[in-house]
């Protein structure tokens, strides 16, 4: 079976600097792969190549067996849900309009969009009667992020990309949304690529963790194995779990 996403020897170079070097990774259907790394490790760059926001300098990113460069970028993006930090909601559009955006672009009839949007808002824990008509500025950070997730799910895309989605939230809201993420994954079984620099979050949501270090894949392991990983960068991240017990 063709993997939904496959990075093949992907490099990305900008201004003489290598952001990503010879990165290869197959993402299996239904799994949540976490790209973990420090700022500047290339994780967000790798993510943005999947929906063709960036083009590889060398190598190929395959989505459903076709290189992203041969897809019509509009078609490609409409079948990939995308959630970013601070959600990136349209400030001039209501919650309902934000969530229904992609179905509307796809020409879905208004009544069907409405039903779908209300169902999604229920799923992410925002009762539509209370939230559908609000504007993003009338929501808390956590609520905005829930809307962001609902929006990404609206056109029922088989693949979801998360770029540090919960990075700007307070710790309590963050845990709530991580739980919700796991619940949605259990229910929907979609393939997801999830970028974070938080090793706890990675261990919680991942089926596999890909650790990036200076643009290279340093470790690729399931969470249980990642805890035993040996490499220096992996140790550095694991040390964050218990700063007291940092190795000398």
């Amino acid at each position: 079976m063709t993997p939904p996403v496959s990075f093949r020897n992907v490099s990305y170079r900008v201004g003489g600097k290598d952001i990503l070097r010879d990165f290869s990774l197959d993402v299996a259907a239904g799994e949540t792969i976490v790209l973990l790394g420090r700022s500047g490790s290339g994780k967000t760059t790798a993510l943005k190549m999947v929906n063709a926001l960036l083009r590889p300098s060398a190598g190929e990113v395959m989505v459903d067996g076709r290189p992203t460069t041969s897809w019509d970028p509009i078609r490609l993006r409409r079948r990939i849900g995308y959630v970013i930090q601070e959600a990136g909601l349209f400030p001039h559009v209501t919650v309902e309009g934000n969530v229904g955006l992609v179905p509307r672009l796809e020409g879905t009839p208004a009544a069907a969009i409405r039903t779908r949007v209300h169902a999604l808002l229920d799923q992410v824990g925002l009762p539509p009667a209370q939230f559908a008509a609000r504007y993003p500025r009338e929501l808390s950070g956590g609520q905005r992020q829930r809307v962001g997730v609902a929006r990404a799910l609206a056109a029922d895309p088989p693949l979801l990309l998360f770029d540090e989605p919960f990075g700007a939230l307070d710790p309590v809201t963050r845990v709530e949304l991580q739980r919700q993420f796991l619940e949605l994954r259990r229910r929907l079984g979609k393939t997801a690529i999830f970028v974070t620099h938080d090793v706890r979050e990675a261990l919680l949501v991942a089926t596999r963790i890909a650790l990036l270090h200076e643009g290279r894949l340093a470790v690729l392991a399931a969470p249980a194995d990642f805890l035993r990983a040996r490499g220096e960068e992996a140790r550095a991240f694991l040390a964050c779990l218990d700063p007291q017990a940092a190795p000398p």
Binding site: I74, R77, I80, Y82, G88, P91, H92, V102
Partner: protein, 205 residues
């Protein structure tokens, strides 16, 4: 006030409104699309904004004068006056279009692109609505300035309320000057208030 003067005030006010209306319509029709185009052509921004800036620094009386000898757009009369007014009105509209669109939150633009919006959808459904208030503020500033500057159009036979002002200056008659200046000021105030009201109808970006 004699009935003759009252009648002339009305006629010249109408003429003034036509000058301003036509000039602003042209300026908006040129500057907004040009501003949008410039957001897609970063290297050109400096040159075009520079040109519009220079136009603004030319004293208005001089600019009207410079235009007179030019073929097609120059000469004596209304069309020359309108060309000059358009040149003045371009900058505020152009600059605010550029500022408004470039000021759209990059995260909002990125998510619009990532959700599969075409360039056109991004412009009409995201960038322009979010920049509308800033663009309108530019139109308002340009309109108010143009109403004042249009009084100078009379110097090159463009008509409008400036006719009273120049006539009053020549005959040292302050009543005549006021007959031109007061309606012009009132029009400017009304335009400022009206466009300000429209501006507030748009949500802040």
């Amino acid at each position: 006030m004699t009935p003759d003067l009252a009648r002339e005030i009305l006629d010249l006010t109408a003429e003034h409104l036509v000058l301003v209306g036509v000039a602003m319509a042209i300026a908006v029709a040129v500057a907004i699309p040009a501003g949008i185009l410039l957001t897609r052509r970063a290297p050109l921004q400096r040159w075009v904004i520079g040109f519009a800036n220079v136009m603004q620094t030319v004293p208005s009386l001089a600019l009207f004068g410079f235009l007179i000898p030019l073929p097609f757009i120059g000469g004596i009369g209304k069309h020359t006056a309108i060309v000059a007014l358009v040149l003045y009105a371009l900058l505020p509209v152009l600059r605010n279009t550029l500022t408004g669109i470039l000021g759209v939150d990059p995260a909002v633009r990125e998510s619009a692109v990532a959700m599969g919006m075409t360039g056109r959808q991004l412009l009409f459904e995201v960038e322009l609505p979010l920049a509308a208030r800033t663009i309108l503020a530019g139109v308002r500033v340009a309109t108010v300035t143009t109403i004042g500057t249009a009084t100078i159009a009379a110097a090159i036979g463009g008509g409008g309320l400036g006719v009273f002002i120049f006539r009053g200056l020549a005959s040292v008659d302050s009543t005549l000057i006021l007959a031109g200046a007061l309606p012009a000021a009132l029009i400017a105030l009304a335009a400022d208030g009206g466009l300000g009201w429209v501006e507030k109808k748009f949500s802040p970006a």
